[in-house]
Symmetry: D2
Amino acid sequence: MTPAVHPESGMRKPETAGGQFVPPNPDYAARVRASFDRQGAMKLIGARLAEVRPGFCSIELPYREDLTQQHGYVHAGIVSAIADSAGGYAGFTLFPADASVLTVEYKLNLIAPAAGDRLLAEAEVVKPGRTLAITRGEVYAETDGKRSLCAIMQQTLIVLAGKADG
Amino acid sequence: MTPAVHPESGMRKPETAGGQFVPPNPDYAARVRASFDRQGAMKLIGARLAEVRPGFCSIELPYREDLTQQHGYVHAGIVSAIADSAGGYAGFTLFPADASVLTVEYKLNLIAPAAGDRLLAEAEVVKPGRTLAITRGEVYAETDGKRSLCAIMQQTLIVLAGKADG
Amino acid sequence: MTPAVHPESGMRKPETAGGQFVPPNPDYAARVRASFDRQGAMKLIGARLAEVRPGFCSIELPYREDLTQQHGYVHAGIVSAIADSAGGYAGFTLFPADASVLTVEYKLNLIAPAAGDRLLAEAEVVKPGRTLAITRGEVYAETDGKRSLCAIMQQTLIVLAGKADG
Amino acid sequence: MTPAVHPESGMRKPETAGGQFVPPNPDYAARVRASFDRQGAMKLIGARLAEVRPGFCSIELPYREDLTQQHGYVHAGIVSAIADSAGGYAGFTLFPADASVLTVEYKLNLIAPAAGDRLLAEAEVVKPGRTLAITRGEVYAETDGKRSLCAIMQQTLIVLAGKADG
């Protein structure tokens, strides 16, 4: 269950309607994993699907030097790649079985250097919908098991009805 | 009347010569190229710095299968990586010689599938400043020399005074 | 016609497909004006519809003290109100006669104090669509006929098919 | 490891007491209320400061017909006005006594019609800083004491050191 107070950052979650989401497709998790495995970009950067639950997805990314910007931190585009995929798949868990997902837009604030042993992107659905879905995400940098917030995202997805996923 | 110097934030317009931005650092282009070459992420994805002018930067990215999302289009995170770097370096051309650049935040709208032979990200400075700089960018998909708009970006940068770039 | 180079800010416009938009509804301008007149908020703040063309809309707002934030500049929310309406009606000019418009989201950068005799919000469609439309907008502050850029916006609209406008 | 002080931007975490923010200015609440009272726009629309705590602010807005867009819902610009002010004052609670606040930018997703007896905007600081502060906000629509989420915001503020607030 998503707690009212976010354990790491102290951020409260906005109230949602009645707690748990019920995915219309019971095979949602297998479907997310199959779709994630088709994302060449996730393989290229070494990202791994960490957790999939109704309305939630997290993706981890071990630090590598070839993912950096000029100061040696992970590049904003790479940070956004895992944040965007986490948000997209959080939304996808709640889509019907015959629909696919595309990102309409997102906004990312980079609030601390993306450094450490690995990054962890977490995203959850704020508002599911028949046509659009809205998510929020956070990216944490982890070192020796301690994590700190390095980016936050707000994202709009579109439900592509009757469109195969891959 | 709106003054040329922002009374609160210290944002100012640089000296202009016929509408053109005049970079305070005459070696701006070499500095951008050196910084770009330190971005491991740009090398990993195969991006190339295309053009650098005062207040402007473009980056090209040949299509590769390992850059894709699940439908075979270039992943939103990769699209944003070149848009973000183009915006950051557009801003960086107008920074003083002893300052570095970081992205504060950006928003990206994906408006058509990122497909084709290559992508081209173009960005330019809308408002330079002493503390912050604002840019806009577009990403085009090119096929057989014909290009179509596939993403637009709006971005905020911060000027890191007295900080080495790499 | 929208010039390639923006006369005030020097901003280039992204290339669009073949120049001029052709509205599916020939009565688009009357429809926009009727809808604008139903916006109580525009009347409250004293905003006036300035210009309506296919894919374009501008709204002017004379300065008033009761529109301000704590420093005496026009409040960001009021700036966004005219930017949002200009973007929404720019999109609406290209909607079919039986559809209505809603804002999905927008992002606004405030880049100079919103002060002067009046504000002018201009917005245009970057990408029209059957389900979504994407716009960009600028807000200018005018004093003695001279204008300067004070905010820029990027916006997503949704086409509400079969929905009456008021 | 991510340091507590951001090496580039000077962003720092304030001293915390059990997860709570400790405002550097003990008179933060009185200062927020005085600043809010200078916002002509808040008076015009009938908004009221509801709650002020370290890193948090909420603003309520009773429904009025003269705040609406064309369908009779509260206009996105009005929704954003209370969200923006709530975010700005959430940040302002953590600013030093000799600093003022300006909004750099924000993004707002409108996820349900802003209708009901009143709206309530809540915002909190995600990341305080010496130069910039990042907030998130939600706007709820309340009817007969039941509330539902109608908008979410992500915002960047700038700390104007040595600037009087009004």
